[in-house]
């Protein structure tokens, strides 16, 4: 009787404590996703009533070159996160783990760009890439390779790589996550290997990597999720140009909204979420499950 009453009392408190967060999750995550799905089947300009048009929005956006390029670019962004950003973060983490002194200093500086906004960094990189006075062309000229100078963001071949390269300044975030793993590998693991004559590369390959695989997948999952959100960088550095080579789905969606075509904007949003699920699912199949994301309370 006593315990039963106590549990009932607490149940009320528990519900009360969860309520604000659950209400906000419902209002800003669950309902918006359902609403997005709903609107994607509608023709809607945001003012007049919606009318159901089935899959017409999807059919129409897929028929556009610029939309197909946007999907392709989102996939390239996601792949760059998984296969460029994460290896780089891993390499830096492995090196820092074995760096004798000052590793904390490096860690602090590497992370620093992550507290600066994408807007500020995008404007900064636009200036660095500027064809007239940009630092990158100036450096190339200073070292006598003036023939390599170009309008990095304005030329078809270099625009997308230049934008993606600029984003690598955020590597420190994932390096810090991976570093937490590499630092926690017990050193006895290595002592035995050293006695057996394993060199540094073998130690990392056969000891460190298997032990921290889960953390690398966690970092990779976040990196891909963040890369799929990309909007500012493209919006501010190239606005999708030159010749529509650099747009991403977020930018396409924004343009559709600005053109009061909410149905097609919503269809784009649905496909972006679906793309995220497909890519993250595929990565998990290949590399195994992640350690922490959404599954930590063991």
């Amino acid at each position: 009787m006593e315990t039963l009453r106590k549990r009932n009392q607490n149940t009320g408190w528990i519900i009360l404590f969860l309520l604000p967060v659950l209400a906000l999750i419902l209002a800003f995550f669950i309902y918006p996703i359902l609403f997005l799905l709903y609107v994607s089947f509608m023709e809607w300009n945001g003012i007049q009533p919606m009318s159901f048009i089935g899959l017409e929005n999807f059919r129409e956006i897929f028929s556009e070159d610029v939309f197909r390029t946007s999907i392709k670019n989102n996939v390239i962004w996601a792949m760059s996160a998984a296969f460029l950003q994460i290896p780089l973060a891993l390499l830096l983490a492995l090196v820092l783990t074995r760096a004798p002194r000052g590793w904390k200093f490096f860690r602090t500086i590497y992370f620093l760009p992550n507290v600066i906004s994408l807007v500020a960094l995008a404007m900064m990189w636009s200036a660095l890439y500027n064809p007239e006075f940009g630092l990158i062309n100036s450096i190339l000229e200073a070292v006598g390779r003036g023939e390599l100078t170009r309008n990095w963001l304005g030329e078809i071949d270099t625009a997308l790589p230049a934008v993606i390269f600029s984003y690598q300044i955020y590597v420190g975030y994932f390096m810090v996550i991976i570093l937490a793993g590499t630092m926690s590998v017990p050193r006895e693991f290595y002592e035995a290997a050293v006695m057996d004559g394993a060199n540094v590369l073998q130690q990392e390959l056969y000891i460190t990597l298997p032990v921290i695989r889960g953390i690398i997948v966690t970092a990779g999952t976040l990196a891909v999720a963040f890369a799929l959100r990309q909007f500012e960088t493209t919006f501010l550095m190239t606005a999708g140009g030159p010749a529509n080579r650099t747009p991403v789905m977020g930018l396409y969606m924004y343009r559709r909204m600005a053109g009061l075509d909410y149905g097609k904007a919503a269809a784009t949003g649905v496909l972006l979420i679906a793309l995220g699920i497909v890519i993250l699912g595929a990565l998990q199949r290949v590399f195994g499950k992640s350690d922490a994301v959404g599954d930590s309370q063991q």
Binding site: M124, V194, I215
Partner: protein, 285 residues
């Protein structure tokens, strides 16, 4: 630090590996910090110097670039908006997530894990995909172009990461403290407010720091959910500069540097908390 003695491999291998290691560390150090230093120094140059002397220090440090940046654009208004929005969004976010984290970390009840997963899974959703619904919701609530629009939106968007960080921290607080408090007659609410909340302060500081930095730096929804000076943030002010000052790079750089100061200052004081928060989240699993 961790494996000093492990570098005892054959000498030639060691020297090349050692050199390569330091080259990599320093090259990435330059990539991470040099552009920011260049930007900051350039903000003190004249426009002519920016275009003709990319590597030199300014001949005269042009402090008026900053004065001009503020007076011409009314940057102080955007700063005030950003401070209000980021602070209140963080406060609301911490209040609601500390309540939820308390019960998730300290109580047992049905669906506890499911609820936790449902809340934290939000971190993987590409938030940019939700432009249409967020815009519709904010308009329907009648708060479009008000400070409240961004306060509510940022507070909500940060719930997954905050809940993750705060509840991870709260699980580490010993249960005995609460048990003895309960015997002393503490109510459910007092266990939260007097025992767990004060002890969870480091976790709250980490989550709050992430939340504030996110809100200060956010761009997409600031662009989408506001339209006038009275609600727009510093991130939009930077963009306004690019059209306002087509050729005045000095003014634009000065404005960018000013908008970076708050988060960089926060980082200087709290970098250990930020990094350890991220680290704790990563190794928990």
């Amino acid at each position: 630090m961790a494996h000093d003695s492990l570098n005892e491999t054959a000498a030639p291998v060691r020297i090349t590996a050692h050199t390569a290691k330091w080259i990599l560390l320093i090259v990435y150090l330059v990539i991470a910090i040099f552009p920011l230093l260049w930007l900051t120094v350039s903000a003190f140059k004249s426009n002519l110097e920016i275009q003709t002397q990319p590597f030199a220090l300014p001949a005269v440090w042009q402090f008026q670039n900053f004065v001009k940046a503020v007076t011409i654009s009314g940057l102080h208004q955007f700063f005030l908006n950003s401070f209000i929005e980021a602070s209140l969004a963080t406060a609301v976010n911490l209040f609601v997530t500390s309540l939820a984290s308390f019960v998730i970390a300290r109580e047992t009840f049905p669906l506890r894990k499911t609820i936790f997963t449902a809340i934290t899974a939000g971190v993987l959703i590409p938030i940019v995909a939700l432009m249409v619904p967020y815009y519709s919701i904010i308009v329907a609530l009648g708060i479009y172009d008000r400070l409240l629009a961004l306060i509510v939106t940022y507070a909500a968007i940060n719930i997954p990461i905050s809940t993750f960080l705060v509840s991870s921290f709260m699980t580490t607080i010993p249960k005995e403290l609460e048990d003895s408090a309960e015997i002393d007659g503490c109510s459910f609410f007092q266990r939260y407010s007097r025992i767990v909340l004060p002890l969870a302060k480091p976790g709250l500081v980490t989550a709050g720091t992430f939340g504030f930095i996110y809100a200060w730096n956010e761009f997409i929804y600031a662009l989408l959910l506001t339209s006038s000076r009275s609600a727009r943030t510093v991130q939009l002010a930077i963009r306004f500069f690019t059209s306002q000052f087509r050729t005045d790079y000095a003014g634009m750089f000065a404005a960018i540097v000013l908008t970076m100061i708050p988060t960089v200052v926060v980082y200087i004081f709290l970098h250990d908390k930020i990094i350890s928060g991220l680290t704790a989240g990563a190794v928990k699993g």
